[in-house]
């Protein structure tokens, strides 16, 4: 069984969790031999901006030592043979096409999504 994971909401408790929870569960399920693909859409396309830096949070004497790094987590997921796609129009709307994007990300247009979904047995929209 192949499952397409759609991530639409970005930075959902990523500071508390120190990762994106859907990217995290994708890693974990991949470790259980799951066949997955990831599609970033909406605000979640910001995850492919390769130079983002979530470090530096300090609250009183507490300092975050392991800040979230969604781009690196996505890169690690791709190294596990999980393809990661990103909706081109959502990147363009946010002015992110000019950024240094994460290597290996596949950009696609919204009108290509139905065909992409057809390649998977199930689509899980988080």
């Amino acid at each position: 069984m192949k499952v397409r994971q759609i991530v639409e909401t970005a930075y959902r408790a990523t500071t508390e969790e120190q990762d994106d929870t859907v990217i995290w569960i994708s890693h974990a399920m991949r470790g259980a031999s799951a066949e997955l693909g990831v599609l970033l859409t909406g605000n979640a396309v910001n995850y492919v901006a390769g130079e983002q830096d979530g470090s530096g949070l300090m609250l009183g004497a507490w300092r975050q030592t392991q800040p979230p790094a969604p781009a690196q987590d996505l890169a690690a997921l791709m190294r596990k043979d999980v393809p990661v796609y990103c909706v081109r129009e959502d990147l363009a709307e946010r002015g992110l096409m000019e950024c240094k994007l994460l290597e290996g990300i596949v950009l696609m247009s919204r009108n290509q999504l139905p065909r992409l979904f057809g390649e998977y047995d199930q689509v899980w929209r988080w």
Partner: protein, 137 residues
């Protein structure tokens, strides 16, 4: 002979935060009512749905004491659905993400709620007719 179907639901919302929780439970009820076997993987805040120490409280705004207010508790909803499943010849399997439980300190779950991992989520999905994710927004 009709094939017995199993449905898997992945829930993310913490209790008392969103109308999605009530909707999700109504979907579970409807599925069990029709005799489907149902799996639930509770992820992130949803692991608190089965927390055994949930407690009812009075409501001064309503002018009611604890008994009168009879505040809903999601742990009781789960127990009720597990009982309902038995009357329908169906099975309700409830699995909490163990790491999500640990980070929230809600390890004391009601009887019948199990501790598991994303691997269990994947296994349940593979063994089901379909899976519905109801995420936090």
């Amino acid at each position: 002979m009709a094939t017995k179907h199993t449905l898997t639901f992945v829930l993310m919302d913490a209790p008392f935060e969103s109308a999605r929780t009530t909707t999700a439970f109504r979907l579970l009820h409807a599925a069990l009512d029709r005799g489907y076997d149902v799996n639930v993987f509770a992820y992130e805040g949803a692991v608190a749905l089965s927390f055994a120490k949930q407690a009812q409280h009075p409501n001064a705004v309503h002018g009611r004491d604890v008994a009168q207010e009879d505040h809903p508790l999601s742990k009781n909803w789960i127990a009720a659905l597990m009982a309902h499943a038995r009357t329908r010849g169906a099975d309700l399997k409830w699995v909490n993400c163990g790491l999500c439980v640990d980070e929230r300190g809600v390890g004391e779950a009601i009887e019948g709620a199990q501790r598991g991992s994303p691997a269990d989520c994947w296994k349940m999905a593979q063994q089901s007719s379909t899976t519905l994710v109801i995420p936090t927004k």
